[in-house]
């Protein structure tokens, strides 16, 4: 099988997901090549053909143009699979490409099983093994599912992709950086995080109290931040902070993929959840099946009495 990898570049830098794409292709064996809208001065470590369009001409975000450039490469290389990261760039571009190719798209692949691709469903409580019925398939990979043991090496053979006319139906006016200030959870050694299971903002206090008793910081999952119960700077997950504390206590957090991606490298994870089957249990060292509103205050009291 021949695979075309679509690498990512943002704000003048290559993204870390590129090594996951390469690892996926390497694991599958067969031939692969790469496409990138980026810069000749920042090339990925990769052994193989790299079709490179200049971001200065093609724009970092211009999906209709990037799609067209990719279609030209696909016509030349005739891959059976086009692989992107399941990221804000990848999930935006993949369906555009899939429709142009009338190809099946397989989103957020977590695993290859018996030669078929496996995708998560229902907050990772189920997995679907799926197969494309088309000659070419467009695939996106879940972040972290194919992280290689070692970073790839090598220098690509660069083939320049000409960008005739910029154009496009979407105007991109640059980036807005995350708001500065707030709490830097990435340096915290102990984090107690609140999830949707806290139920109402008044219950945040029990989480804060446990964090105090453990001399740590408190964080939160996305729903709690979206509900404006907690400052966005305390959000842990893909769109918030990535944390690596010695102890991470997940209270009432079911364990959506986006949250797990931000905290799964914690040294020790204690989860408190009423749902024994919650996906957080997959990565927790200990899962206490309990209502946090009962357990957390008792735990805090006992810790304070020590």
């Amino acid at each position: 099988m021949k695979i075309l990898l679509v690498a990512e570049y943002r704000d003048g830098k290559l993204l870390g997901t590129n090594s996951e794409l390469i690892n996926f292709a390497t694991q599958g064996g067969g031939e692969n090549c790469m496409f990138l809208v980026g810069s000749n001065s920042t090339l990925p470590n990769y052994t193989g053909k790299l079709y490179l369009a200049d971001a200065g001409q093609a724009g970092e975000f211009n999906p209709s143009l990037h799609k067209q450039l990719l279609l030209n490469v696909i016509e030349k290389e005739q891959p059976q699979m086009v692989v992107l990261a399941h990221s804000s760039y990848g999930w935006d571009l993949a369906p555009r490409l899939a429709l142009a190719l009338k190809a099946a798209q397989i989103s957020e692949v977590v695993e290859v099983k018996d030669g078929n691709l496996v995708v998560p469903s229902c907050n990772a409580k189920l997995r679907r093994q799926v197969k494309s019925t088309t000659d070419i398939a467009v695939v996106t990979l879940q972040g972290g599912a194919f992280t290689p043991a070692e970073e790839p090496s090598g220098a690509p053979e660069v083939i320049k992709v000409e960008v005739a006319a910029a154009g496009g139906d979407i105007q991109f006016a640059g980036y807005e950086e995350a708001e500065a200030g707030g709490v830097d959870l990435s340096k915290a050694e102990i984090i107690v995080s609140a999830g949707r299971g806290i139920g109402k903002p008044e219950n945040l206090e029990v989480i804060e109290n446990l964090a105090k008793a453990l001399k740590g910081e408190y964080g939160a999952s996305r729903p709690v931040v979206d509900a404006e119960w907690v400052d966005p700077s305390r959000q842990v997950g893909t769109t918030g902070q990535t944390v690596t504390p010695k102890l991470y206590v997940a209270c009432g957090i079911s364990g959506a993929i986006q949250h797990l991606a931000g905290m799964k490298k914690s040294e020790f994870v204690l989860a408190i959840n009423t749902d024994k089957d919650a996906p957080i249990g997959e990565i927790a060292d200990v899962l206490a099946v309990a209502d946090l509103k009962q357990l957390v205050p008792i735990l805090t009291e006992k810790l304070n009495a020590m």
Binding site: K131, A173, L287
Partner: protein, 257 residues
């Protein structure tokens, strides 16, 4: 202005999921159903746009069995003017491509200026349908929006990227936008609006009449993830649990040192 918002009814994600007898999706008995969370933001944004422009007609579309009409009534109570139910008892067997083709079949000659969808569904999470609809209709689409503004035929918005960064984007209408969590604060329908919603138009059209395209994806198996052994599971009285947890934290971590 004509506005369309596409929604999906999904089970509450806290549910216990069992694989159905055919082994191709979850068993739909004993589940609590609700509006896909991302779509609540889409409905809210559509209603806000209608209020902003004044003269607008807002249609909510949903595909599924008669059960989904309940969820559509919530959208009507939130402020949509009419409902287009595409009746399909087997919509769960269709992939994103087939679902998008159904929506396009409904939308193509109706001249919608703006189409709103959630960025993905909570149960399947493919994140494809919105973009596919736009591509099939040949209109621009902006995805993963956390900020939306409309003025004089132009959508100006912010896309959410990774790590808290946003991209500033814009496009001309007609256009489609997909909504990310946190885009706005979805309203709760008030009792008077729930009563009013009961009188609003909610027409069912059988999916077959809209000639959907066949799916491009084949589902081979659906199963719960294999338990990777993983961690210790503790159950019992909260006071006992607290003692056990303190013991474990002392032994396995330096947190209490």
């Amino acid at each position: 202005m004509k506005i369309l918002v596409c929604i999906k009814q999904v089970p509450d994600m806290e549910s216990k999921f069992k694989v159905n007898a055919a082994g191709n999706w979850y068993d739909d008995t004993d589940l609590a159903w609700r509006m896909n969370e991302y779509d609540e933001y889409a409905v809210e944004q559509a209603v806000q746009l209608k209020q902003q422009v004044g003269e607008a007609d807002l249609t909510v579309l949903c595909i599924g069995s008669d059960r989904v009409r309940e969820t559509m009534k919530k959208a009507l109570a939130m402020g949509c003017d009419r409902g287009a139910h595409i009746a399909d008892d087997e919509s769960y067997l269709k992939d994103s491509y087939a679902i998008a083709s159904l929506i396009v079949s409904y939308a193509k000659d109706r001249g919608f200026d703006l189409i709103f969808t959630g960025m993905q569904s909570q149960d399947r999470g493919s994140g494809q349908v919105g973009v596919l609809v736009a591509e099939m209709l040949g209109i621009p689409s902006l995805t993963t929006l956390v900020e939306f503004n409309y003025a004089d035929g132009t959508v100006t918005a912010k896309r959410e990227l990774e790590g808290g960064i946003k991209a500033k984007v814009s496009c001309a209408t007609p256009a489609l936008v997909t909504c990310q969590l946190g885009l706005n604060t979805p309203r709760y329908p008030t009792l008077p609006n729930i009563m009013k919603a009961k009188k609003k138009e909610l027409i069912s059209t059988p999916a077959a009449e809209l000639n959907p395209e066949a799916s491009l994806l084949e589902v081979l198996q659906v199963a719960p993830p294999e338990k990777k052994g993983g961690g210790l599971v503790l159950e019992g009285d909260p006071a006992d649990l607290a003692d056990q947890l303190i013991k474990i934290l002392k032994e396995k971590t330096t947190a209490l040192a």
